[in-house]
Each structure stands twice: as structure tokens, then as C-alpha cells.
Amino acid sequence: MNRFANRLRNSLASKVIVSTVLLSLAVVWLTGSALYSQLSDGVREVNLESSLAEARSSFFNAQYQFLLIEGEKSSVITKAVQEVIISSTEISLNQDRKSIFLNRFGTPFRFSLNIESPDYSTTTDGLDISSFPEELREKVRSSDLVEYQYSKMQYKDRKDANVLIAGRKIEIPKSGKYEMYLVYSLNNQNRTLTIIKNALLLTGFALLFLIGLITWLVVRQVVKPVREAATIAQKFTQGDFSQRMRVESSDEIATLGTAFNEMALSLESQISRLENLSRVQQRFVSDVSHELRTPLTTLRMASEVIYSQKDSFDPTITRSSELLVAQLDRFERLLEDLLEVSRFDAEVAVLEPVDFELIGLIERCIEDVRASAHDHVISITIDHETENVMIKADIRRVERIMRNLLSNAFDHAEEKPIHITVVSTRTEVAVGVRDFGTGIEFSALSRIFDRFWRADPSRARVRGGTGLGLSIALEDARLHNGELDAWGEPGQGAHFVLTLPRIAGEQIGGRPIRPQPEDYPQNL
């Protein structure tokens, strides 16, 4: 039932068909019942008239017969009564059953042995006298005309039946006044009416079915293009703008199709214009980065040649050459990061997963970062449950993430120790990098992964990071379907948690390490 209701809600065709069929049902019902009542009235009337005519002739015949034998012997009269009974109950064509009830006035119905005035009261067919309507009998007794009434008759040996009773006063010689009733069974009439009713019902249902079918055919014509439009619109959502609706006629549906296609065309051109713009933009960034590389290479080599001779210069030139080399380094890193960012923007960054061991990689990264920071004061502990953590990921990117997180921690650790945690589950692996240095304001947490964003703009750039490191790290993590979370509290340090699927590209099910560190009061 629920499914049906759902379908009704979701499908225009079902909705239209159901409402059409329901409305037609009402109309068919009304016309059908009107037709039926007219037909049945007619049938009843015809039946009544023919039955009454026959009854009249039967009564007349009986009266006539009895008149003829006025003054005859009892045996003749008895015979005549019997003949009358037989002739009156003769069944004519298209009659079902006819019974007679004869009752002498005044006496309750019983056999009398009085020979002088014999009682000819009788009934045929096992009629139950008690079910005779008293009302009718009153009327018959007090009237000289043929009286009739529809009634329900009980029989001694059969089922009750609806009947038409016609009655009249009759006089039998030497016996007295009688009520004579002819009881016409209405079975035939009822059967006719049933046939009519069935025929009407059948026609009604056939009509309903046909109306439903026609509605379906018509609705389909309208709904099909709508469905087509919906399917195409769905494809648009998926980024396929090449689809168009077929326009084959010039009706309203065709107008819809044309309008839809025009919208599609306009959308497509808009989007391709935007795509083009952004492609040009990204191409430009990428080209600039590439074009800068050749002169930078020359510069680097030149600076190295100068730097290698620095001992033979005077101190200002020596220092200048040192600065030159350092700044070229920084410039190169910036260029490298910019190029990487442009790859992410152009969505051409590709994942190249290989199997490797994570702990070893992290240890190597620690060594490198420590060496390049020329800082051996800060102690780093690494905490892992298992000796080896094998993962399948892009080793270059994971290394870059780790370097970025580590140098970030170094920059802000204020010479306090750095703590690294590695937790691996069946489906994912998490690396937490915790420092206890300056920390991060809550309001800054949401912006910490923004490009070129600095927690404190007035703070000097101690290590000369590019300002793109964390943003690239986040993109790298997401490329693996992983996540990079940050937690921080001013003065309490920061906690960066990298979560990666064990196999790059699969989904991560949760966070084995929560960004909020366990050493920090949980309810704050």
C-alpha cells in the first residue's frame, strides 16, 4: 500500500490515470444506476400489467363459471371449483409459478364436513397462509375490485419468494363468499433484472478499463517528453551537456522541447566559456611557472658558482651570495608549490599509488626536516603500535604532506618537543603531529588551510615557508580520499591529524585519531 502511494505521488501518469478512472467511475455509476432504475421500473410495470390482466380474466372466468352452475348439485359445484383452481393456476408462457389461495369469509381456514354448505377453502403450492398480508385481505373483503400487492411469501416446502398477489371477492354457490388470490412468483422478473444489472455492471467496468487505457495512452504522449526532459536534465547535472530533446511536432510539448534545448545550448556555451576562461587562467599559471624554470636554473647555477667562491670575496659580497642562494631556494619552493596548486585547480593532479611502509617514510621525513631546519634542539618522539605500517598511496604526496606538517610543527614548536602518533586500523591509517608551541586561535582553525594565510600577519616569516604548504597538504590528503584535520588552542599547541585509507582511493570509515588530543582536557 505504501509502495502504491509512493508510486502515485511520484508518477504523473499514475496520478492522472487514477483520478480519471475515479471520476469516470462516479459518472458510470450514476448513469448506470439511473439506467437500471428506469429499465427495472419498465420491466416491473409490464409484468404487473400482464399479471393483473390475466388475474382479472381468471377472476372473471371463475365468477362466470360459478354463475353458470347456480343451483346445481354440490358435486357439480365441487367439480367446477376444482376446474377453476386448475385453470387459474395454469402457467402461461414466461411465467414462473402461480399459486392460488381460496378462503371462505368469516371462517378460519380449516376443512369443514358441513355437506350443506361445503367450504372450498384451499391453497396450492404449500403457501403459508399466515404470511399473507392482512392489509390486502381486508381490502379484498371490503371491495368488489381486483386488489393487488407486492409481498414476500413464505412457503412450507420452499424458500421464501417475492411475489405479486392479486385478489378478489368470489361467490361460490351453496357455499358463500370467498377471497380468491392468485400469487404470481416474481422469479422470472428478478432474473431479467439481474441479467440487466450484470450487463450494466459489465459494460461499466469495460468502459472504466477502456477509459483507463485511453488515459494512459494519452498521458504517455505528454509524459514521455517530460520524462525525456528529466533524464536529459539529470545528464546535465552529471556534466554531460551534449544531450538534446527531440522536437518532432509543433505543439506545446515541442515548445517545451525547443525551450529546453535553447536553455541547454545557452548553459553549454556559458559553461564552456567559463571552463575556457579557467583553463586559460590555469594554463597561464602553469606556463608562467614553466617559463620561470629555465632562467631560474641558470640563476641557481650562477649563484652556486659564486657561492662556491665566497671565501675569496669581502664579507658583504660573501653574505650577499649566501642570501642570494637562500632566496633562490625559497623562490624555487614557491614556484614548485604554485605549480602544484595550479595542477590541483586544473584537476590534472593524478594519484600514483604504490605500496610502501609508512613509519620508515615518516622517520626519513623527520631526518630531512631536522637537517634543513638546522635545529637539533627539538625532540621528536614517534609512537606507533606496530613496527610496519604498509599502505598503498602516492608516496611523493604522502612524503610532501609529512614534510609540510613536520616543518609547520617545527616552526611553531617553540623548542618544545613534538609528538607523532601513528594508528592503523584495517581500513585506514592516521598520523597525528602534535606540538606544544604557540597554538592556533579557534577562529583561525577554519582558515588555516587557506592559501597564503598566516595566523599572525605581523609575525616574521622565520623559516620562509611558502604559505601554500598546508593547503597543498590538504589537497594531497583529499586526493587519496583522505582527510586532514587541525586542532589548536592558543598556548596549548596544535594537533594536525592526517587520515588516509589503507588503499588510496577507498573510503575512510572514521578517524582513528581524534583531532582533539587526549592529553588535553576533553570537556573544555
Binding site: 631560474l296 636554473t297 647555477m301 652556486e304 611502509e357 626519513r364
Partner: protein, 228 residues
């Protein structure tokens, strides 16, 4: 004196490369157009070619293929394009090494050039076999059943590095250090591409290698010799 042919259209960079290489005791032949390379190469065969990718006249990749068609001389590509696609394209054209501009230190460039020029595996002499391959280290020849297989010097070095210790698993990093002279790098694309190239030359079925086997998650090893 060793001779290195430097092919680069950027005059300043070429000059600078010349200064650095000369400073390291290497002779330099400068060429600035791709379509001039082959003539110079034939007239004065260098010991190593340092090749830029984007060149006027003829693309560096094409130049690389042309040189490879007639010589096994070490080729080091130098390019501003560092995407995997570009690197793989260069290596597949026959380059032994691929250096992305700007490289960190000139000394690194020199180190890598020297590694390519040096006879690596100088400690190994005589005849090695892996599987049904026989390697004559002294004569610098590889053959299977008497039939010679032509390998570049780098491919030969890679094969010998693996073959001299059959069964030992070499990580990609270790191979980078031993064969290419990298101090440290996690960029192992170089190794993967060259192993593929080498397999396509020495394996019966490169899809199911028997000479150079992959050790999942670690690196490569030479297949342990059969009964013979």
C-alpha cells in the same frame, strides 16, 4: 677528456651549463637546435648527451629517439616539465635519466652525469648468468642462447646491479642510488619505467617476468637461477 653534448635553446642556460661542466673537467659541445643534433653527434660522438625537451627544429623526444636508434650513448634529459606523463614519455624515448629544472644543486647534476659516464659495477668482472641469460660484464654484452641482446648502458648497469646478487631484494631507492647515482629520492618513476623497458628486452613474457621479479611493496630482485 670526456665530452658532453649540451642541447638547449636557451643560450644563457647553455652557457652556464658549459661553465659548470668545464669547471668539473668535462668538455662541452653546445647545440641549440633539435635538427642540428644528429649532424654534430655523428661528426663528434660525445660520451653523454644532455638534452632539453623543448627545442626549436626538432622536439627533444624525437631527437632522443633518433640518437637511440644509432647509439647506446647515455642520454640525460633536462626539462621544465616535471609531470609523470612528460617524464615517462622522455624515458620511453630512450633517455637514461630525467632531470627536472630547476635542479637543486649543480653538484647534483655533475654527480648524475658522472654516474652515467662511469663504468658502474667496476667491481664485477667476468660472466654472470640469470635464468637463461648470460651477461659478459667485461665485454658489456648480454646474450641468450648465443644471440646478443642490445641494451643501453643504463639498462646493462641495471641488469648487472640486480644480477650480481641474485635473490637479494633491491628497494627502488637502493637502485636509484646504485644505478643512477641519486643521493636520496623517493621519486621512483625512473626505476619503474626502466625496469619495464628492460623487461621488454630480456623477458620471454614481460607480463610474467622471470628474470627481474617484482617484490610487492619493496622493490625488485633478479630471478634465482634455474638448474643450469
Amino acid at each position: 677528456m670526456t665530452l658532453v653534448m649540451v642541447v638547449d635553446d636557451d643560450q644563457d642556460l647553455a652557457e652556464m651549463l658549459g661553465i659548470v661542466l668545464t669547471g668539473a673537467g668535462i668538455d662541452v659541445d653546445l647545440v641549440s637546435r633539435g635538427d642540428e643534433v644528429l649532424d654534430v653527434f655523428r661528426n663528434n660522438p660525445p660520451d653523454l648527451v644532455l638534452l632539453d625537451v623543448m627545442l626549436p627544429g626538432l622536439d627533444g623526444i624525437e631527437v632522443c629517439k633518433l640518437i637511440r636508434a644509432e647509439s647506446m650513448v647515455p642520454i640525460v634529459m633536462l626539462s621544465a616539465k616535471g609531470d609523470t606523463n612528460d617524464i615517462v614519455k622522455g624515458l620511453e624515448a630512450g633517455a637514461d635519466d630525467y632531470i627536472v629544472k630547476p635542479f637543486r644543486h649543480p653538484s647534483e647534476l655533475i654527480a648524475r652525469i658522472r654516474t652515467r659516464l662511469r663504468r658502474t659495477n667496476a667491481d664485477v668482472m667476468g660472466l654472470l648468468t640469470i635464468g637463461d641469460l648470460s651477461i659478459d660484464v667485461t665485454a658489456h654484452e648480454v646474450s641468450r642462447g648465443g644471440r646478443k641482446i642490445a641494451l643501453t648502458r643504463l639498462e646493462f648497469d641495471l641488469l648487472v646491479a640486480l644480477a650480481k646478487e641474485p635473490g637479494r631484494v633491491f628497494t627502488r631507492d637502493a637502485l636509484l642510488g646504485e644505478v643512477w647515482g641519486y643521493r636520496h629520492s623517493t621519486d621512483t618513476r625512473l626505476v619503474n619505467v626502466h625496469v619495464q623497458r628492460l623487461r621488454s628486452k630480456v623477458e620471454h613474457d614481460p607480463e610474467h617476468p622471470e628474470i627481474i621479479m617484482t617484490v610487492r611493496g619493496v622493490g625488485y630482485k633478479a630471478g634465482v637461477m634455474g638448474g643450469s
